[in-house]
Every structure is written in C-alpha cells, then in structure tokens.
Symmetry: D2
Subunit: 303 residues, 4 copies
C-alpha cells in the first residue's frame, strides 16, 4: 500500500512547482542542491519504503533537538521540566522577545532556547556529553555510522550570533549552569548530526513504538513519557507553524532548517521527508505538502 | 469499564484539595456554587456514564466557540480561514498585543478575537443569526431545550470591555463587516448557552464521530474537516495552556471560564467535565486533573 | 528680525519638495488642500508675524490635548498624575500594546490613551464638560469665536475604532469612571477644535509666559506646573518621533494629524506652523522642517 | 548663592530617608558604601562649590556613554546616526525586545545597545581605541589622572551576560563590524572609568559651554551638535525614566548605575551628584531628589 502511495505523492508534489528558499544563515547549508527530495516510511510491522534521494545524508538541524531532549528526559524524568516548558511559543524559533518577558525560561525543548537549556543539562549530567549524545543517537538509530558533520558544525559556530544572544540572555537570568561557549559548542555539534531519510524514519520509529527501540527489549522512555514527548512535538515541533502542521498533517513531528521533517503515527509508522527549500517559517515546503497528501490520502491522522 | 473508572477519578480528584478561583469578570458566573463537580462520558458505541452534578446546567462560555466555528466552517468551507488562522497564540485568551502586531487577524477561532470574527461571518451569512445558531446547536446536541441564559448574557454585555476593545481593534483594521454592537451581542449570546455535562458530552460526540451526527445520516463536517477542527482544538483549545493540556491529557478539547471542559478521543468517545474553580490560565482545575487521570489510567491518548 | 527669518524659511521649505501624506483615517481631514502652508510667531514682547495661509482654520486634533490637560492639571494639581504618567511611550500614538502591558495606565497625557483618560477626569470634574472646555480654550486663546468643527467631529465619531479599542481596554482595567461613549464623544469634540495658525501661536504663548495669560493677571498654571507641562511636551509631544523633534528643533511643542504644530521658547515666543502633509509618524513634514530651520538659523533652542 | 543652596539641599535630602538598592549585577559595585553622597556644581563663570564626598572616585558606568558618543560624533559627524537613533526607548536600559523588533538598530546612543554600537564605530575609526578614548576623556576633563578601574572592568567582564546577548543580537542583524569580544571589552573599560563628583561636573561643563572646552580655544563639538547631544540626553539620558527626570528636574543629563548623575544648564552650569542607592529604574534616588530640589529652588530649568 505505502509503496504506490509514496510514488504517487512524490510525483504530485514535484508537479506542484512549490517555491521556497534554502536556509541562508548557515552558509554551509546553502551549498546543498535545492532539488533534492526524499520520502521514506518505516512501519511498526517492519516494512519500509522509500523514494527519491533517500540515501543521501542531510543535516538534521532542529530535528536533532528531539534526540537531545529524549536523552535528557530519560536521565532526569519529569524534573527536566524545571528547565523547559511544554507550551508552543507562537513566535519564530530564534526570538528573544518572549524569552526576556518570561525571565529566560524557554517555552519548550524544541525551540532554540529550549534546546540550549537541554544541552546545558546534558553537560551537567554526562561525563563526556559530545560522545555520549552521539552514542545515544546511534543506539536509537540502530546504526553506528551516524555522526556529526564538521563543516556544518564549524559554519554554524562561526555565524551563530542569534544563538549566542539567546544563551547569554538565559545566562543573565541564571538559567545556564555551564560555560556558554561549551553549551553552544554542544548545541552546534548536535544540530550538525546527519542522517539519510531512510535512517531518520528508522530512528523515529522509537516514538511510534511506545519508547521501545524496535526489535530490542530496550525501553528508552516509558509509554507515558513517549506520549508526552509526542504531544510536545505536536504543539511545538514546527516553530510558529505548529498549528498549521497539526491542522494540515495531523501527526506529531519535527522539522529542521536542513529541509528534513520527521513525523510519526503512534502504533503505526514513522516517516522522514527531505527537501531543502523552506517556507518563510523555516519548514520544508515540499515536505509539508508531502505529509499533508499522505495523511489526506490515507485518511489517517491522529485526529 | 468507564463506570468504575469515572467513580475512581471522581473520588481521587475530590481528595486532592485542588485550589482555584471562580471567574470574576462576569459577575453572574461568580454566583455558581464552587464545589460543583461533574464527569460525563458518551461513547461511539452508545454507552454513557456520569457521576456528580451531571444534570445541572452550566455556562458553556468559550466551549460554545467550537459550535459557532463548526457552523461557519460548514457554511464557508476552507474560505473561513480568510477570517481566522489555525495557530496557537501563546498568549492569554483576551490579549490585544498579538492582534495589533498581526493587523487584527486572529490567530485561531477559539480565542476571543477569533470567535468575534466568526460571529461577524455568521451575521453576514445568516438571515437570523441568533435563532439559527441556537437551532444548529440544538440539532447537533439532539436536544431542543438547549438555550441561552439571559442573566449571563446581560451580565457579560454590561461588563465585556475587553471584548469591546478586541472588536474595535479588529474593526480599525477593516476585519469586521458588521456593526460592532451586533457582533458583540451575538458573541455574548453564544457564550451564554448552557448545557449539563451529560448534554455536552453527547454534543461533542459529533467530533469523535467523523463529523456525522450520531444515529443520523447527517454529516455536518466532512471527515477531513472534522480532523482539522480537532487539530485546532488540540493546539488552541486551552488558551496559553494548550501545550500543557496536550502534554498532560493528550486529547483535543475546549475549556470555558464557566468551568466546563469538553474533550474527545476520535472514534472512541467524548467526555465533559465541570467544576467552576479555575487556575490562573482560566481552565478548570478539577477538570484538567480528571482528564489527566482518565487518559493516564486508560493508557489511551491520541499520542 | 522674525519677519525676514519667517519669509526666508517659508521660501526655503517650499523649494525642498518635501513629500508626505494627508491623514486618511479621518475622512473629513482628507479634504483639506494639501499645499496649504502657514507660519505664525507671537512673542512675549507683543510682536507677531505670519506668512502663508495664517488666517485659515485647521483642525487642531492632538494639539488640543494640551489644552484639555492644562485644564485638568489646573483643576486637580499633581493628583492628575494618578490618571496619566509623564514618560514617552516609544510607540505609535494609538498603540494598545504598551497599554495592555501596563494595566491600562497611559504613559502620558499627550498620546490618545492619555487624552482619553484626561477627558474622563474632566467629565467627572465639570458640570458641563463640552461647554466648559470650549470656554477654557476661548479664555486662553483670548478669542470667543474658537469652536468645534461638527463635520470633523462626526467624521471621527463614525470611524474612531482604534480610540474605541483604547478606551474599552482602559475601562477593562477599571481606569475609566464614566460611560465610554461619553468620554469618546468629548474626546472627538476636543480634537475637532479649529484655529488658524495665528490664533494657535497666540494661544500657546501661555506656555512661554509662565502659565499667565498674556496681558492679564490670570495665572492658569503655576510657573512650576508650566515648566512641567513644557517638559512633558518636550518628551512626549510628537508620538514616537519626540526624540527626533527634540533633536532637530529643541523646543517643547505638540503636533496634530491636521498638520499643525505648536511650539514655544520659554520666556521668548510661541510659534504655530501648518501644512497638512504628514510623515509616516503622523507629524507635518513642512512643519518639522520649518521649525528646524527656525531654531538653527536663530541659534536658539532651549539646549 | 550656590553654596548655601547646595548645603540646604544636601541637608534636606539627607533628612528624607529615601530608600534604594545598590546595583547588584556588577559585584564590584556592591562593595561601595551605601551612605556616600556628594553634590558638586561648576559654573560657566568659573565658580565651583561642592558638599559631601566630592573627592571620592565612583564608577561612571553609563555616564561614560556620553563621552564615547561625543568622540564618535566628533569623528563621524551626522553619519553617526546611521549607527544609532535619537528616540527614547520607553524600555529598560538592557532590554532586547525593542532591539529585536527594530532589526538590531539601537534607539539611541545612551542605552546599552547604542553604546555598544558606538564602541564598535570607535574600534573601526581609531588605531588604539582604548588609549584614545581615555586621552579624549582626560582632555575634556582637563585632568590627566582620569583612568579605568580594573576591578570594576573585570567584574563586569565576568558577569556581563546581558550585554553579550545585546551585542550578539545586533551582530546577527549585521550591525556590528568588529569582533564582539573586542567591542564588549572596550565597552566594559569605558563603563569602568572613575571620577569624583568634582571632576565630573568640571567635565560636563563642556556641554553647557557650546561644545568648547572651558578656558581653551578647543571646540570639540559645534554649537549645533552640542545642542543636539543635550537634546538626546534630555529625552534618553535616564532609561525609561527620562520623562520623569525631564518633568521633575528639567535639565539634560545622564545617570549611571554607579549612583552618579551629571546634568547641565546650557550657558550656566554643570552639576554632578553621587549616591549609590538606586531606584527600580537604576537611577540614584538621592541624586534625582537633589536635582529636583535644585531646579525647583532656583526656579531655573530649561523649560
């Protein structure tokens, strides 16, 4: 079923002539070929289908925030919510306005400020955060080759002024325990993790599988924690377009300015799409459309 | 199953000594007895269970915005989104700040500004909006006795300064076609509609039933429209606590300052809770807790 | 001295080809001929000079806020500052954002919200506010013919949605004692007062004359109160362009969207300019330029 | 005349039992004795009078922003206003909200963001900015011993998170040409300059003297530029209390969180006051009161 459906969606989206812009503020990301497009689905019952550039690596960017939060949630349990909230921000992903008004407490772990706060927690909790985060992602990805992209990391480190503004603002409110440069460094590394669409959909299956790594006995998050993380993705996974995504697609998910989107239907499947052209809100134009067509044609959304 | 569960939750919530305040800005609402508490569930397979004050009427307030939007969505289709958006506001329900910044375009139909815009559309579309809205609510409620409460209507009409500010701000941006007093009048009437918890859960079953009035052939919204409205409730149904409700409860729903909350599990059931004590965000304290316990104990949420 | 200077400035400004827009949101004001231009100065030592359309009436609009505040300050003394502050707003004259953030307390008496609060005080203090304000303005103008323009009043009453939003927002915070329609009515009347440039400069001489009506024994404000009102004009008289006016002109003054500006040099003179074309901030383009040239050529500003 | 007046004011202020807090966010400043109090006036006609701790050094903090701006204005002329505006902010001195809304362009040179932009300009313009700024201040102070306080500089460098947030936000908008750490370093040095009240009033005489260093032929700013800088001080010199200071005192001036205030009457005198206890807006409580009494008793303000 999924095979024909993905092929049909792939074609339909390509005929639509959707317009977008590549992320410009991370110079390295501007070098990706704009016409790349990939769809890959992995189901709970062990099927998977892909179409397009499903074996090319792309930069996860904000999608990786989900993995950092997963690890921090596993380590700290509900105490993690002393560091980040669970409310949608209603504002662009890198805005300082709300953060100043709310005394440096980030609205949720999936906006930049929240992910920086999570990186700060991970530095406090882990002996070797950079390696341990990578090991954790490899474990849930069931793939030991997943790694950082040093060029993207360097590019973002050189130009990440807005993220530096965010962390210093939080630090001024006493919300950051570690050195700001160390937190930024970990954050930029995290965002530079690369996967293919195939690898990403396989990794996200964790969240469709009640927090258990598929084909393993290992429970990363409890079922209840997994539901709660999915709920956060639903309301906060798409910056100030979370309502639009929920409205059009109706699945929990997370986007990144590398052009990737990962989404999932609890108990059913995970899907990754990739196309580098973004809309004004920073979400992949083709990716949003492909997922909308998927849930519309399937008649399946969580609603 | 539900019977024992509701009894257990009812008891547990009552022992928790939760604190809250009754809505004070609508004088008439301050007269309701604060210890009222009701839970009522209605399932797709025609079962229903209630406990507590399930046969007492309470003021729907913002819950009625869902019905006004349903009617407008039915009448206008997706053109309704020229009048309101689908994004969470991240702000209190009656804030003017975002509305001014966004040139009078309301973020979604479930905040006050959005519901006022919907009332404006209904006045333009209907010959006799006040009667036709009531007929519509009676139809989906399958209950011809549902009606406005004139004392609550008068009370809100006399004191609704914030809503007057909202509508004049929208009018100054050219967003309101009709006389502001007429729109406000319809809005205050709408908010004053009363139901019991039993009636409310029966009415909300529409949204768990793909937009079809149960036991009837009548499709009010298409399946796709129903999913989209449920998605809006999920991200926008609880003012600036929508994330918290999604996180803790994991069901689409809508609250009102009369102390009611209606929620639903698509394809399964609708539930109404009522207790007039509100938290600082304007949502029923016992109601939030009861629904959290329900989805936690059931192990069912849409995530 | 002033005669040649005004002639020179008048010519120079006319050659500059300055561009602007007439106020559009009060339909009646859009009918004024755009090329009108007048300069009129009145000195403490009883000289006066004018050039251009100095005998044509124009709508004072916000300039009249100074007179309403003068009367309220006279009546209430420093207790008036329980109703309005003395800080520049840093925001457009009709913004609701700051007003909501500051619980409905207006930053100063010269923005719309503040003038509405002053009108509310005058209604509480006076038996017949409409007549008594007019009598007061006639007294300080030394001119019994000054009056309201009914067409402008009606025009603004019909379209003043933003002012209705402001007053209802203040009312929702308990800041307005009287009926909102009555306060708005007085405010729209006040703004519709008309004067010629000649009359306006003569009226403003009060503020250059330590609060004493020239050629009379009557002290309207004490010397200290007059200084304080001049200080408010300096920091708040030009909406979010008060800094620019202080920087370029260096005199206390007040502008109106009718295209008038009145300014004064304490102990020396008062000046009125009129030209209906406004810049984006709502201040007369030619008027700002003429006053800048005046203080630059004179080498006189209060700084 | 001034001698008796200052003595009287000094006594009166001390009896008033005014309450305030020392600046806490720069640890080094918290060590100053809270009961310090000094008043010192220097007149155009070469008289000077002081009372209290007039020979103790204190940290100029934001007062030094006036000197940095003076130098940059001298170097760049009106082109400096491509880097900073002249409008009051209406917001706290270190707020990022307005700065983000206005794309990183600082409202004026006397708030933190504006002074950082001025330091950036000075780094671009000068070969050895740190030394040249100090030489410049020594020249206008007519005092070769004026210098930075290394402990205060280090203290602020270690804790200046909010300033780091500001500069990175401006850098993200392309407003800062030099390395952020270099700009911050110069800024922290600038703020750490120390003077006594006696030295400060002597230095500020420049601004009362049409931009000419007293007793010298050297014109630092033209008369027109001096008026314009005085105008900026009037509307922007006291953060979000500029209106209050203008209203109560009626002189151009500048405050610092070290507890100093410098003010001037053009053509007449300059005055410096110092007392480390601050009100909630960051301005010296005793200093504000002393200056209010001065202009009230003298009957002199610029208005």
């Amino acid at each position: 079923m999924f095979k024909n459906l993905l092929e049909q969606i792939y074609k339909e989206v390509n005929t639509l002539n959707l317009e977008g812009q590549q992320a410009s503020y991370i110079p390295e990301l501007a070098n990706v070929q704009p016409n790349k497009f990939a769809l890959h689905i992995t189901t709970i019952d062990k099927k998977h289908y892909g179409i397009g550039d499903v074996n090319e690596k792309f930069s996860l960017q904000s999608i990786a925030k989900v993995f950092a939060f997963t690890l921090a949630y596993q380590l700290k349990g509900s105490a993690i919510f002393q560091h980040v909230g669970v409310e949608p921000s209603g504002n662009p992903f890198n805005s300082l306005i709300q953060l100043e008004q709310e005394q440096g407490f980030p609205r949720n772990p999936l906006i930049n400020a929240g992910a920086l706060a999570i990186c700060d927690v991970l530095i406090s909790e882990l002996n070797n955060p950079e390696d341990e985060i990578l090991s954790f992602v490899r474990k849930i990805a069931r793939n030991k080759t997943i790694t950082y992209n040093p060029a993207v990391y360097q590019s973002e480190k050189k130009t990440g002024y807005r993220n530096r503004a965010l962390i210093h603002l939080m630090k001024s409110f006493g919300r950051i325990q570690n050195e700001t440069e160390n937190v930024l460094d970990l954050y930029f590394k995290l965002c530079s993790i690369e996967m293919t669409a195939s690898e990403l959909s396989k990794t996200f299956l964790l969240y469709a599988n009640s927090g258990i790594i598929p084909d393993s006995p290992e429970q990363i998050l409890t079922e209840s924690q997994t539901k709660r993380l999915n709920a956060i993705m639903q309301t906060c996974g798409f910056y100030d377009e979370a309502g639009e995504f929920t409205f059009r697609v109706g699945l929990p998910g997370k986007s990144g300015v590398g052009g990737g989107i990962a989404a999932l239907h609890p108990g059913k499947y995970a899907i990754a799409v990739w196309s580098p052209l973004l809309n004004a809100k920073g979400n992949s134009v083709k990716g949003m459309k492909a997922l909308e067509l998927l849930t519309t044609k399937l008649g399946w959304s969580i609603f």
